[in-house]
Amino acid sequence: MDDRLRLIRYLYGEEEDESALARRLSDDDDLYREYERLRDAKRALNDRPARRPDPAVVDQVVDEARTAAQSSAPSTGDRPARAPSRSWTRRLQTVGAGLALLLLIGLGWWQGAGVSDEPVADSAAPGVLDGEAPQAPATADTRSADADAIPAWDDGEELIRIQRRIDRLQARSAPDRWGSLQRVSRP
């Protein structure tokens, strides 16, 4: 690099090899004269007092920064939601769907057991013979209650799958099939 350009770097503390430049300055009078002239101009610039904006302007800027931060908070949806909260939502949805599925499967089995008693309620049912309380009325109530318990607002794929599963379970637990099985198994 040209020594005259290195002088500029030296004046502003950016020259990497200052000792080499100092040797050049001591050997070259023209270069030294140029250094003096540049240094004087820089000194005059350094002596200028700093200027700053009006305090009210800084306050306005900080106000704008606060407003922008508030308006772009995740709850408003302007700024993209942060990754952890997204993943937690997804996890909660998955767990919720899983629990709902398990609940419905359980209900399906329970319903199936309750329905199996219906055809034989008039004749001596095995459960009644064993001293158990008849379950048919209770099952009917529970079924309507369960229907109400299904969230009407949820029309996602998960619910459609669950609904199909319920249909399959209900088809399997049709009264005629259970009745014929019980008739066959009756001694």
Binding site: L45, P53, V58, A73
Partner: protein, 201 residues
């Protein structure tokens, strides 16, 4: 220990810490404002541009317009925005060049009275010197003036200035060399003229 610019940026963006943002602004206000004052005429215009610069900065930091990629060079990034704002302003001014501009410096009459200060004479002298130098800087070629303001006021390195202006580092250094040399010449001429004027009276 002072937090770095990046730590303050993170505190503002991730924790909505407005005080962190205030510290950033106050830390660099002299640099940014000094540059803007040199680029535009008048304190009121520089105040407007300072605010406009930070409006753009805030929008970009919040991802609303543009972006900030947190590469550890917050000030040079802000300076690029300030530079664009100053260029836009200068273009608009040129459009209205034929309309006479009578811009005040944004200070009231009472603000100009500083005689109560014990350092009033010194302050007045420095203010006059500053004004005198500003007039000389104004006469430099635009590219020389800008490098001088960027290096002297904002403390960006010559490498950062070269990146900002999209020129080689040697070009940036060369412009600075001519700026200082020309400034020195003007100062000498001005001093000689003042000396001649004093001798004439």
């Amino acid at each position: 220990m002072q937090p770095t610019d990046e730590e303050l940026v993170t505190a503002y963006l991730d924790e909505d810490d407005e005080q962190a943002f205030r510290r950033l602004v106050e830390r660099h206000q002299d640099r940014i404002f000094g540059y803007l004052m040199g680029m535009v005429k008048g304190r009121a215009a520089a105040n407007d541009l300072f605010q406009e610069t930070f409006e753009r900065v805030i929008k970009a930091m919040q991802g609303q317009r543009g972006s900030y990629d947190r590469q550890g060079q917050w000030l040079s990034w802000v300076m690029s925005i300030a530079r664009n704002a100053a260029i836009d302003h200068t273009r608009k001014q040129k459009k209205w060049a034929e309309v006479p501009q009578d811009e005040d410096d944004g200070r009231s009459f009472w603000d100009t009275l500083e005689a109560e200060s014990p350092y009033a004479d010194e302050q007045l002298h420095r203010a006059e010197q500053r004004e005198w130098l500003d007039e000389h800087i104004e006469q430099l070629a635009p590219e020389q003036k800008e490098v001088l303001l960027l290096r002297q006021e904002t403390d960006l390195t010559f490498r950062e200035i070269a990146e900002l202006q999209d020129v080689s580092i040697n070009t940036a250094l060369g412009r600075m060399r001519y700026a200082l040399k020309n400034l020195r010449k003007m100062m000498e001429a001005s001093n000689e003229a003042a000396l001649v004027g004093a001798l004439d009276t």
